[in-house]
């Protein structure tokens, strides 16, 4: 189980005025600024549960994941994952945990994936039979069998992400942190990764925290969501409770001869509303999208769904 109590993290960085004057001054004196990435958050996750952590850029979701994975030390508060304090990094904990980052590579670029897997087999002391079974299962489910002997740097972004997933799951972790696993992937690759994650969750029942900017990821994989805004949880509860905002609403962007505007439209009214727009305006361009994470959060705040 994961238990987070009153967890806070403050980052300090130096700031510099723009221009050459600012650069010269910074040689002698630098101003410091602090940013509270997490403000006393609490969270509990049970074995087998998968939660979606959503928030705008800079909201604090990656900081939380980094602390839980043991990469970053918190400023205050307490965390226990499987009974371990993550940032002390005991090997027993690291053997049961995995962090997958959508934009960062953990396998070795200069080598074929199978070479990296063999090393990971030794590092995690995976028994031969389990290693063979897992490589087979993961490669099959991810449909990446033919690329395992190709140098990783020569693979496409989607293929590399699948290799990253394989590398991170070879040792059957009990806790998985997925930080934007579908970022930058095309639609079919996103779909394949989502399908795989669903199958893996069904098969092995790990505790999983998923952060994503794509609402599709959250809707398909996470029965429970935590929404984080400026370092604080603004919602922690069932996805179904906010399904209206996540799934039933579309954003229509309209450009006419004289103006550009955006409106939120319930899904069931979409056909009528667009018809009405075409009748009332001289439309040049019309675009229908899912609401952005920022808009979803704003909407949830507006409709008054609060932390459970």
């Amino acid at each position: 189980m994961i238990k987070v109590s009153s967890l806070s993290k403050t980052f300090t960085s130096s700031i510099k005025e723009p221009g050459i004057k600012g650069s010269l001054i910074s040689l002698f004196h630098r101003q410091k600024q602090s940013k509270e990435a997490l403000k006393s958050v609490d969270l509990e996750i049970q074995q087998g549960e998968i939660i979606g952590l959503i928030g705008a850029n800079g909201a604090g979701k990656t900081t939380l994941v980094k602390i839980l994975a043991g990469i970053v030390h918190p400023t205050s508060g307490d965390v226990k994952v499987l009974g371990f304090t993550p940032w002390k990094r005991p090997n027993e904990y690291r053997k049961q945990m995995s962090l997958i980052m959508g934009q960062k590579n953990q396998v070795w670029w200069d080598l074929p994936a199978l070479d990296s897997f063999l090393l990971l087999k030794e590092i995690y002391q995976i028994p031969v039979a389990q290693y063979k079974r897992n490589v087979e299962f993961l490669a099959e489910t991810l449909m990446i069998k033919d690329q395992l002997k190709t140098q990783v740097r020569k693979l496409s972004l989607g293929e590399r992400m699948k290799i990253e997933l394989m590398a991170a799951l070879l040792h059957n972790p009990k806790v998985i942190f997925l930080d934007e696993p579908t970022i930058g992937l095309d639609l079919s690759a996103q779909k394949a990764v989502r399908h795989f994650l669903r199958e893996y969750q069904k098969e092995f029942r790990p505790m999983t925290i998923l952060t994503s900017h794509y609402m599709e990821d959250i809707k398909e994989l996470c029965p429970r969501v935590v929404i984080i805004k400026e370092g604080q949880f603004v919602y922690d509860g069932a996805l179904s409770k906010i399904q209206g905002v996540l799934g039933d609403e579309k954003v229509v962007s309209v450009t006419t001869q004289s103006e550009t505007f955006r409106i939120h439209v319930p899904r069931q009214d979409l056909a009528n509303k667009t018809h009405q727009i075409f009748q009332e305006h001289d439309v040049i361009d019309l675009n229908i999208q899912d609401p952005s994470i920022e808009e979803v959060i704003e909407s949830i705040m507006r409709t008054g769904v609060h932390t459970t």
Partner: protein, 267 residues
């Protein structure tokens, strides 16, 4: 500890993965440095009109500069930025996630390079002595060669710790490139990588004897050439080990501070 073997084999595969890079560093770089040094020292010896300068004949100087390029490459192991580059790129995070010691991992990868270059040094020096040297001033002796390469390996370990100390500052500092370049320059200069230390003032040489520098480059090179006495070799081993222990203690302090400030940049 089976992963040790796998890490070393994987590094070896990485070294051999790029064919042109391998041949350019093995032969190209070594031969160019040797030819430049050879023509310079030929001119110096000719203008001074002497056969021996500060204990070195022209032929010994040639041998010295054959050893130095590969010897310094052994010392530099995985090359500068082997930790800081990964910290800045964000890939350092993987060593914090894997259930192994980051220091063990980095030492293994570094020493794989050193061992590989050590083998190159062994081969190139043996071939050169067999086919090109005619002098009887220094006698080709495989035990000296083995001892010298062994000293270079120990020196690589000490230098690794020295470099690690600087590299880990990247855990909180935005740019440590200048520090790394300065370290490399001082080690090469004070270790006898540019000119043998016998060309330095006597007082300066006496001071240097208590630092790790002469034992990183000059003493191993001289050992290969059969110019070192056994007491020089023992002193080199003792001082390299003492300095290695000092650097290890300093690394513990830097790591303790650094890991708390590490932000996992790039992720």
């Amino acid at each position: 500890m089976n992963w040790w073997k796998h890490v070393m084999l994987m590094e070896l595969r990485k070294i051999l993965a790029y064919r042109s890079d391998f041949w350019i560093t093995f032969l190209g770089q070594t031969l160019i440095q040797l030819l430049v040094a050879r023509s310079l020292w030929q001119m110096i010896f000719a203008s001074e009109g002497v056969k021996v300068m500060n204990g070195y004949s022209l032929e010994m100087m040639n041998l010295y500069y054959l050893i130095i390029p590969i010897g310094t490459r052994m010392l530099s192991g995985e090359n500068i930025g082997f930790v800081s580059r990964e910290i800045y790129e964000g890939t350092f995070t993987r060593y914090l996630l894997y259930p192994i010691s980051v220091f063990q991992y980095k030492t293994l990868t570094y020493m794989t390079y050193s061992l590989f270059y050590g083998l190159q040094l062994f081969l190139l020096y043996s071939l050169y002595r067999l086919f090109f040297t005619t002098s009887s001033i220094t006698v080709m002796d495989f035990s000296n060669l083995l001892l010298g390469v062994g000293l270079f390996l120990l020196a690589s370990l000490t230098y690794l710790l020295m470099a690690m100390l600087i590299e880990l500052i990247a855990l909180w500092a935005d740019n440590i490139w200048t520090l790394i370049v300065m370290l490399k320059f001082f080690v090469t200069f004070l270790g006898g990588g540019f000119v043998p230390l016998t060309f330095f003032p006597a007082l300066f040489q006496d001071i240097l004897r208590w630092t790790p520098f002469p034992y990183l480059i000059q003493v191993p090179a001289q050992t290969i050439m059969g110019m070192s006495q056994s007491q020089d070799i023992f002193r080199a081993i003792a001082l390299l080990l003492i300095w290695a222990l000092i650097f290890m203690e300093l690394i513990k302090i830097v790591w303790k501070r650094g890991e708390k400030q590490y932000t996992g940049v790039g992720i």
